[in-house]
Symmetry: C2
Amino acid sequence: MVTMKDVADHAGVSIATVSFVVNDTKPVTPATRERIETSMAELGYRRNAVARALASRRTRILALAYPVLERPLSTASVEFFTSAAAAASARGYHLVIWPVSNDGRELAELVGQRLVDGVLLMEVQLDDPRVEVLERSATPFALIGRTRDVTGICHVDIDFEATLHHAIDHLTDLGHRHLALVLGGKGERGYRTYGPFVRTAAAFEQAQIERDIHGRTVEVTWSDDPESLARQVFGEEGTDGPTAALVLNDHTALRLVTGARRTGRRVPGDVSILGLSAAPETGSLSDPPLTLMRAPGPELGHLGAEALIRMLEAEDPLPPRLVPCTFEAGGTTAPPPR
Amino acid sequence: MVTMKDVADHAGVSIATVSFVVNDTKPVTPATRERIETSMAELGYRRNAVARALASRRTRILALAYPVLERPLSTASVEFFTSAAAAASARGYHLVIWPVSNDGRELAELVGQRLVDGVLLMEVQLDDPRVEVLERSATPFALIGRTRDVTGICHVDIDFEATLHHAIDHLTDLGHRHLALVLGGKGERGYRTYGPFVRTAAAFEQAQIERDIHGRTVEVTWSDDPESLARQVFGEEGTDGPTAALVLNDHTALRLVTGARRTGRRVPGDVSILGLSAAPETGSLSDPPLTLMRAPGPELGHLGAEALIRMLEAEDPLPPRLVPCTFEAGGTTAPPPR
DNA sequence: CTGAAAGCGCTTACAG
DNA sequence: CTGAAAGCGCTTACAG
């Protein structure tokens, strides 16, 4: 391995001077700079990240901590991985991914190693022990999601309220008045305190008070089959039920489309189905293609990483950001029958 | 931050001795060991990963390098992230994820920083410039996938031949003789040299020679709509075409199910459709659920990381492994009509 | 503008 | 079994 010492000897200067040109941290005469740069090119020098980290007390590594779940991560979650990695990369940072338990034990252990400068936290619960761990250890962090109280905490999240209202607007514009909100994942650990569910459900309650709609919230499990899903959401065949469903989970939405058809309902002739916070690829998987609110996964991953890096670099902080999902027209929504 | 020096002072020993008990690398009297352990607990000492890495010349960090593609990563690819991270974690290693260009430039740059001890390479092309980069820099690496020639190269991959034969067995047992192999992603950069496609196509050609089947290979693009897909695969309505399709891509398989139905073919009454190398969640998304060969994503991620770590730890090497996909019954395959 | 030197927090021969 | 010391490859006051 060629070190800074090698370059210094080759160029006839001190390693300090080499360091100054490598990092562009102090003025250096054009002549010496050129000599050093030539030497570096000739020897194929690359600055050692580990030594740099130890000396500068900054590793320029970020961690993305995600909980190990029984179910696979959602597509949107996966978008965080790649978008956060890309954002970090663009700033000269690395991203490690940390599978950690929800109680914060493993996170405390990992943070203690001082391998990373900051942590990005995914799948945040309303009261998240991992947040306390990070605060106690004085590790800079940013949330992709929100705890119950986020005063003073750096975070980015989906704007669930705006998203829901946009979705409801679409359906009421079509003439729907009786809506169902479908939440997937009932019975799962952390389900009741999972931000997206809690916030969407609350906004739905609120909307029923403020707007001319009649609603029903339906909680379903991952294992409910399509027909059972459809019956829970729209009622038994032939009965009067909601004419449209807002579904907070891609897979559940797709299975509901299937279930509706199998229980004799045309989509969107008889019932409309709209996916809330879904990945864009999801749309084309159903027949007809699912109308959905597209989750801003890539944006959130990018914003989260960027916000964290700004803290670390002591740059202007990025204010907390709530990003709404964007409407993507499909073929599963239409005016209600009659 | 409490350092080894602090612990040594507190316990009245040298930092060398503290190091010996922390790493369990040399015998230490039970008495001193106990004193040191008490001090560590009292002071809340944690070994600094960066200093350790610099001194021991091993960072215990692995990189997972994946190409930045226009399309989102497949579900199976994503399983590599989490399974490799879990496997690394179980061995006390960290996993960084590196989005890198296919030409190997960025990889060379990153590897030069000496932040990682080894690299796991995903989405391997038959002739992959990134492999040369790793060889030239003498960085230990393992492939998830295969180059054209893998002699002496540590790798794990799907056994495409076995997978295809298993799938064909299933269809011929049902009575099918006329099969279509559908490859998604035509026209994409690297499509023609993408191992999974090349190997599956070759095995399909071979199977037509060796077995009593008649085949057709159909290459389709991501943007083909369902009806067009169905026509390309099964021919125009009413014509004699393949009675079953083997589809190498989840999304394409699902859209083909939709397309078949829309063009007046019952699935599986008129045509059978089978997904090759698909994620398990994919099955329930179509109606009826897709019959598929389940890709061993988690196994491959785990094996790849483990193989790499064994190289680094100079343990018994893990031999190259080809893992077949496993059959998962669904409702899209049945005997051909008549 | 440039250099000598201390120091980042560990590991690891080498002595004893 | 334990310790003193060199060294990993950098950064960064401090002098000049």
